[in-house]
């Protein structure tokens, strides 16, 4: 675990301790379960985003995709009565295809990631709204899918199953990002795509793969979100989730310029964001200030991180100078 990640962990623990002191229910089983469920949902999303950010890209269509894929998923199983495993596979595949198309537009047609995914943001939500004719996709009364519901919204040993899924995904993705050849390529491309290409790396394919991973994880979390709300009004469902995901990655030490960040960081970033949301409600802070608190904490976090870096560099410099000065007369 890097120093940055450790700092974030400590911050999370300190905030938790303070909140607990004010309202001990923070540590109640039900609150922890609720919060860890949301951490899982947003965490899966943010890990996907992290893979794109590391290449120096960005994926802005995440929120709209959550709305579109969630709508389709519920529609498939509730209205069209597809078997849910089939619907599940179809949705994940759709996520992969959309990720592929984004990656393809970006690498082959050389469009800017911001532009491509901004268009995605506009298009997918529009399509979802059109699909439901600006209505809602939801289950009928008494429509139940016991296995699916257990897997998505159920618990095992007191832990939400979604959270267990996050842990598994995080471990797998940690290996992929930090230990695999593919992960190394991602970092290299994020640092300097041109140079990576000159080293014989098929940068286009790697970048496309990053968008596909993002698409798949987004599709997965779209299903989780759909099963969490059990009803989707596409006009607002998932709005601004891309900002959550980006914020989690940034808090976790990712640079939007690419080539920097760790998987542990993005997970911790998600935890901190959810903790903050939880805190606002638990401490009775007016909920209108919810986002303001989030924004404030991100800003302070990034500032402290930045200033801490400057401070350390300066101190190292000072020391080096002092040593030199001390050494000079002896010569």
């Amino acid at each position: 675990m890097s120093k940055k990640d450790l700092g974030l962990l400590i911050l999370i623990l300190v905030v938790g301790a303070v909140v607990t002191a004010i309202n001990p229910r923070f540590l109640s089983a039900i609150n922890l379960a609720n919060t860890s469920n949301l951490v899982a949902l947003f965490g899966i999303l943010s890990i996907g985003q992290a893979f794109v950010i590391i290449t120096g890209g960005i994926e802005l269509s995440v929120g709209s995709l959550i709305a579109l894929l969630g709508t389709l998923f519920i529609d498939f199983i509730a209205v069209r009565e597809l078997d849910w495993p089939l619907a599940f596979v179809v949705i994940i595949a759709l996520g992969a295809v959309i990720g592929f198309v984004h990656g393809w537009l970006i690498t082959r047609l050389k469009l800017q990631p911001f532009v491509v995914t901004l268009c995605g943001l506009l298009i997918y939500r529009g399509v979802a709204r059109f699909y439901t004719a600006d209505g809602t996709a939801g289950f009928a009364f008494g429509q139940n899918f016991p296995t699916l519901e257990f897997l998505t919204a159920g618990r095992s040993y007191g832990l939400p199953n979604s959270f267990i899924a996050l842990i598994v995904i995080a471990i797998v993705m940690w290996v992929v990002l930090h230990r695999s050849v593919f992960g190394r390529y991602l970092y290299a491309i994020g640092k300097n795509e041109e140079a990576a290409k000159y080293s014989g790396i098929r940068t286009g394919r790697i970048i496309i793969a990053a968008y596909v991973i993002c698409g798949v994880l987004t599709a997965l979390s779209a299903i989780y979100f759909a099963m969490y709300t059990r009803s989707i009004s596409p006009a607002s469902h998932g709005q601004f989730y891309e900002l959550y995901a980006i914020a989690a990655a940034v808090l976790g030490g990712f640079s939007l310029r690419g080539g920097e960040g760790s998987l542990v960081g993005v997970v911790l970033g998600t935890v901190l964001l959810q903790e903050l949301q939880n805190l606002v409600n638990l401490l009775g802070i007016p909920s209108s200030l919810n986002f303001a608190v989030m924004g404030g904490v991100i800003l302070i976090g990034v500032l402290v991180d930045q200033q801490w870096g400057v401070f350390r560099a300066r101190r190292r410099m000072m020391e080096a100078t002092r040593q030199n000065v001390a050494g000079a007369p002896a010569e």
Binding site: I22, N23, P24, R25, F26, S28, I30, N31, N34, L38, T132, D134, G135, T136, A137, G138, F139, F141, F225, Y228, T229, R230, S231, I232, S233, A235, S236, H237, G238, Q239, Q277, N278, N281, L282, L283, G284, S287, S288, N290, F291
Partner: protein, 297 residues
């Protein structure tokens, strides 16, 4: 502030941020004066979406809230989520009912009746018939659907038709733009209906900008000051007013009594309907005065 060791808390959770709920806030305040043993609070979700409202309620439950009265964003499809809340606190609904959940009772308007009253206004204002266009916040929300249905039912057999309803996701700039676009795209429209509290004022302003005030019949809902001004001026035919103050005031007291074990206030059908009223030119002064008096309390 909600504290674990404090007095029990009762929360009133609305469906989205608009001035409509300021009257409910006043109602909560009045109830608070009479319920010193409880903490009462009114909460706005960040956005009018199921997920955000659900999360707000989950957190309230965690914080130890004893009773929640909610205007659910999408009551028909969030049955499970609402039931989860109902299993841990006393859950009441308001504004939009959720009859299929385990909620204790609904207190609010009959939205179907309110729609029918809107039809009455239209029929009275346009004896020779006409073509109406509606504007609403959340097209997918239940109270909107009921009002639209109620109005259609009420218009059945008359020469008036409600041809379409446009949604705006509770974005006021879009609400106004919708009206402007309608004026351009469908010049044959003779009447406009504002189904949510802020829609009527947006219609009023767009008509004023276009110089069409008075030429198009406006049917309103609720009692935004601009709506009432328009009614008084004669540019808004009349408005169907709801009583969010009473929902909140009576609702909170009912909930407190229920928690103390007194279930006498809950009728057999679990519906406590606070009637909606048509306010026309003649009643508007008295109504506005009464409104002021209530807010003062």
């Amino acid at each position: 502030v909600t504290r674990a060791d404090d007095k029990p808390t009762l929360a009133f959770v609305v469906n989205g941020a608009s001035d409509f709920w300021k009257a409910a806030e006043a109602g909560v305040k009045k109830a608070q004066g009479e319920l010193p043993d409880y903490n009462l609070e009114l909460k706005y979700p960040e956005q009018s979406s199921v997920a955000i409202q659900q999360r707000l309620m989950d957190d309230l439950v965690t914080a130890g809230v004893k009773g929640i009265m909610v205007s659910a964003v999408d009551p028909k499809t969030s049955t499970d989520g609402l039931n989860k809340i109902a299993s841990e606190t006393a859950l009441f609904t308001t504004d939009s009912d959720a009859p299929q959940t385990k909620r204790v009772a609904y207190i609010g308007s009959s939205n179907v009746d309110a729609g029918k009253q809107a039809a009455e206004i239209a029929k009275k204002a346009m004896p020779n018939g006409g073509k109406c266009l509606g504007f609403v916040g959340l097209l997918g929300a239940d109270n909107a659907k009921e009002r639209i249905q109620g109005m259609k039912d009420g218009l059945a057999g008359s020469k008036i038709e409600l041809v379409d309803v446009r949604g705006d996701d509770i974005d006021q700039a879009r609400a106004k733009k919708n009206v402007e676009d309608a004026l351009v795209a469908s010049p044959d429209i003779t009447c406009m209906v504002g189904f949510y509290s802020y829609n009527t004022p947006r219609i009023y302003e767009a008509l004023r900008d276009a110089g069409k005030l008075g030429q198009i019949t406006v049917v309103g809902f609720d009692d935004d000051p601009i709506t009432l001004g328009g009614v008084k001026e004669g540019t808004v035919a009349a408005t169907v007013v709801q009583q969010p103050f009473e929902w909140a005031y009576q609702g909170m007291k009912l909930m407190a009594a229920y928690l103390k074990g007194d279930k006498s206030g809950i009728p057999a059908n679990n519906l406590i309907i606070i009637p909606t009223k048509i306010i026309g030119k003649d009643d508007v002064d008295a109504y506005a005065a009464n409104l002021k008096a209530m807010a003062g309390k």
